[in-house]
């Protein structure tokens, strides 16, 4: 089923078309609202949104501010999968010419009531955008990706403010979520009690990554876990007053960390992508302690998987939030 409506505000025609798809049995888990305003990023976002919506049957509402969509396109299709009929509903709205109030009201009218609404915001501005604020107000979960853009650091700053302004909304940042395997690898160095002491005498932290957001978040996470106080844009101070230097090296693919090196006295803890396979990490300890080199799989960090994880998370993540606030302080 396909329908094109010239006027984005002709809500009754859109809803009529969507109702037709309701004649089949269907499963729906959420309203999935996606906002995109960067033409270069548009197909990247929409492809992933479509994959997620297909896997988590949803009403997908795409708010396209890139100029690529005019009016409204309503598509509804059914497919058989594993013996069940899955109905996909999607509404693409060209919102470039609409004001924030109209966008907010349209989105609300097109959402299925009594179902969670996930907003994936892929817009350049966050809190400075009234459209963002309006949509976030009606969302249960807001998902952003502060990585891979020129505004990474600025976005993180704004997210810090978001937390206090929208306390009832679950916030997720793909840039932070991507770090989980790295956090686990760093953590496992210090599971050994004989090495634990080094954790409290770290002197430097070097992070190689293709985007600034990941490096900032890793530093913020370590800082918040170890009660470090930001003391400059690239330094922390630990509880005993020792300075920890943070070096962020721009190297590698966007949204990817390449290596993390921690130093405590003579001892070096290093986790780095293997030269043989970029999905494998080589772990090594050198200097004061020595250990057999190990290889561990870098767990799947496909963006669609991260989006799915964010959708399934219904509680606020205190580890993320404290890391975020630490980064905000670090950025000054």
């Amino acid at each position: 089923m396909n329908l094109h409506v010239d006027s984005a505000t002709d809500v009754s025609a859109i809803l009529d078309e969507l109702r037709k798809s309701g004649r089949s049995a269907r499963v729906r888990t959420m309203n999935f609202v996606v906002f995109v305003d960067d033409p270069a990023h548009r197909s990247w976002v929409l492809e992933r949104a479509a994959i997620v919506a297909a896997k988590h049957p949803s009403r997908l509402v795409v708010l396209d501010s890139t100029g690529a969509t005019t009016g409204v396109d309503v598509t509804s299709s059914t497919r058989d999968a594993d013996g069940a009929t899955i109905v996909s509903e999607r509404v693409d709205i060209g919102v470039g010419a609409l004001d924030h109030a109209t966008i907010g009201s349209l989105t609300q009218e097109l959402s299925v009531p009594d179902m969670p609404t996930v907003l994936w915001w892929s817009g350049a501005r966050l809190l400075q955008s009234r459209t963002f604020s309006g949509l976030a107000q009606n969302a249960t979960t807001v998902l952003v990706d502060s990585s891979g853009t020129a505004r990474g650091a600025e976005t993180i700053r704004e997210l810090g403010e978001f937390l206090s302004r929208f306390p009832g909304v679950v916030l997720g940042d793909l840039a932070f979520m991507r770090l989980l395997p790295w956090q686990e690898m760093i953590a496992q160095f210090f599971d050994d009690p004989s090495l634990r002491e080094d954790l409290f005498s770290l002197e430097s932290l070097d992070i190689e990554s293709g985007s600034e957001a990941e490096a900032l978040y890793l530093a913020g996470w370590l800082g918040s876990r170890l009660s470090w106080e930001p003391s400059g844009r690239d330094t922390f101070r630990d509880r005993s007053g020792r300075t920890i230097a943070v070096s962020k090296i721009d190297k590698g693919d966007q949204r990817r960390v390449r290596s993390v090196v921690l130093r405590a006295g003579e001892c070096t803890y290093r986790a780095a992508l293997s030269d043989e396979d970029e999905n494998v990490v080589e772990l090594s300890v050198g200097g004061g302690h020595t250990a057999r080199k190990r290889y561990v799989p870098l767990q799947n960090i496909a963006n669609t998987s991260l989006i799915e994880r964010a959708i399934l998370e219904s509680r606020r993540d205190s580890i993320f939030e404290t890391s975020l606030l630490t980064v905000r302080e670090l950025l000054g």
Binding site: P57, E184, F190, D192, R196, L199, T290, R292, P297
Partner: protein
């Protein structure tokens, strides 16, 4: 001076005080340990167990410090064993070929001890290997033994472990657990004997009786459906439920296991374990927590409440069958008696159906119809709960049939839930028709569940026994089927084979339900 660190990895308990671990799912990853596979040259190890271990590694479920030791009769080196396991993983793993550098890292942790299960020295070699692994791989004395062998040698292996000082009571540090493949015994007496032999060395809490059926996602979904929703529990009882049908139907024959199967049959191979486990999950009372023992307490209670079948009533409440030649999925297949390693005059049943009652307040007089068979029309496992009819009819034109509501938990190959209810057909008249509402787990959540062996081995390494069967439940299940087994052994069936391969099963099974005014759901 440099300190030698055994490996880069987590240490049991220590991780809890690592501040970087805050917020991480600590229960996901197992403690450092060695896994010993007895029967390491066998098909199960190659097709299921080793691919499962490798996938656990890829999924970062295995602990950082782990070792795997294969133990089997064939003479081969560590190197040969690694090569063989690499081939097995390449062929059977769901993640495809094993590649470097992860494969090399994994392979370095694989070792092999050749020896028969009578060979005391081989078990001492095993001990030396495990101690070496503790030292070099940091496995901390933790051991998981997996008996992937014929049941006849379970007792022997356990004795040898104890004799070599590998029993848990000899351990200076760490834990020991043992996974035992089904069948656990061949009847009640042999099961009790086996239990007595194993518990001479292992405590019940250290014994993990594996039933891979319980590792399937939809089986676990039964509990979520029942106890994570409020709408089913109030009607989950004799006031509203008319009957429950549990089906485990296969299209395959004995698949090269004729020798084993001909001594087992459908009752022992499927009903006594897989199907009884499903019955327990669907009929048990709500456990007070997800704790393994709380769930297993409830399963035991409900199995204890099964009404014993008097031997002289067996023929009235059971039916058995054996398949003859026929067509399965459009292809001709041979009959059971023509299968390799099967007695040409075999009286072993390849189909069994049984009617049970559960004598408690919730289920009094509600029949539970259980059936399982090979070479049936479709591969199909489900639990169908049929509700009572409406008490008073006010809707529906003459001729409209008002169906009983049905809730079906689909286990395989489809995984989901469907509900059948009545609705009005649009139009001026009040015509009523049954309609089905379907939910499918895969498409509903878009998540592909891990194979059962991966889930279960990971659970055993973590010490989570929820999905493993406790002895009291095994014993109760044997008690429930013993009268049938005894009677069937005493009365020789003359009409075998009595159903065509690719059919719905034998006619006498239909008669079982017809006598109650009901019928089987179509497979």
């Amino acid at each position: 001076m440099a300190t030698e660190v055994q490996a880069l990895g987590r240490s049991d308990g220590a991780a809890a005080t690592n501040p970087l671990r805050a917020g991480m799912d600590a229960s996901r990853i197992a403690n450092p340990c060695n896994v010993v596979f007895f029967g390491a040259s066998g098909d199960l190890t190659k097709r299921m167990l080793m691919p499962a271990m490798y996938n656990l590694r890829l999924g970062d479920i295995l602990p950082t410090n782990f070792g795997i030791v294969g133990f089997s009769r064939s003479e081969k080196s560590h190197y040969d064993f690694r090569e063989e396991m690499k081939e097995a993983i390449d062929q059977f793993s769901r993640s495809g070929e094993a590649r470097d550098p992860l494969w090399s890292d994994f392979a370095n942790r694989l070792h092999y001890i050749p020896g028969s299960f009578d060979d005391v020295e081989a078990f001492h070699d095993l001990r030396r290997q495990l101690e070496e692994n503790d030292e070099k791989l940091g496995t901390e004395g933790n051991r998981l033994y997996y008996l992937s062998t014929p049941p006849s040698v379970f007792g022997k292996i356990v004795q040898q472990l104890a004799a070599a000082g590998l029993g848990p009571r000899d351990q200076q540090r760490g834990w020991s657990r043992i996974i035992v493949e089904k069948p656990f015994g061949t009847d009640l007496v042999s099961a009790r004997n086996l239990q007595a032999e194993i518990t001479k060395v292992f405590d019940e809490k250290q014994i993990y009786r594996i039933d891979h059926y319980l590792g399937k996602e939809p089986v676990q979904d039964i509990m979520a459906l029942r106890f994570a929703n409020v709408m089913f529990e109030p009607i989950w009882n004799r006031r509203y439920i008319d009957n429950v049908q549990i089906t485990a139907a296969e299209t395959v024959g004995v698949e090269g296991r004729g020798g084993y199967y001909d001594n087992a049959g459908a009752l022992k191979d499927m009903i006594q374990n897989h199907v009884m486990n499903l019955l327990a999950l669907v009929a048990m009372e709500p456990p007070i927590s997800p704790n393994a023992d709380h769930i297993r307490d409830e399963k035991f209670k409900v199995l204890s409440a099964m009404r014993p079948i008097p031997e002289d009533s067996v023929s009235k409440v059971t039916a058995r069958g054996q398949y003859g030649p026929g067509l399965v999925e459009g292809k001709p297949v041979i009959g059971y008696r023509e299968e390799p390693s099967v007695d040409p005059n075999s009286a072993t049943e390849t189909y069994a159906s049984v009617k049970f009652y559960i004598d408690n307040w919730r289920w009094a007089d509600v029949p539970f119809y259980l059936r399982s068979g090979k070479r049936l029309a479709r591969k199909h496992s489900e639990i169908a709960v049929t509700f009572r009819g409406i008490p008073h009819r006010i809707f529906g034109e003459t001729g409209d049939q008002i169906e009983s509501n049905t809730l079906v938990m689909k286990i395989q190959p489809e995984e989901g839930v469907s509900i059948r209810f009545n609705a009005k057909i649009p139009g001026p008249k009040m015509h009523i028709r049954g309609v089905t509402m379907d939910f499918n787990y895969g498409t509903g959540f878009g998540v592909v569940s891990a194979p059962a062996y991966e889930r279960l081995i990971g659970d055993a390494m973590r010490g989570d026994a929820t999905l493993f069967t406790r002895w009291d439940a095994v014993e109760q299940a044997w008690q429930a089927v013993m009268p049938i087994l005894t009677r069937w052994n005493e009365t020789r069936i003359v009409d075998f084979p009595n159903y065509l391969a690719g059919s719905q099963g034998p006619q006498n099974a239909d008669a079982l339900l017809v006598a109650d005014g009901r019928e089987w759901r179509r497979i």
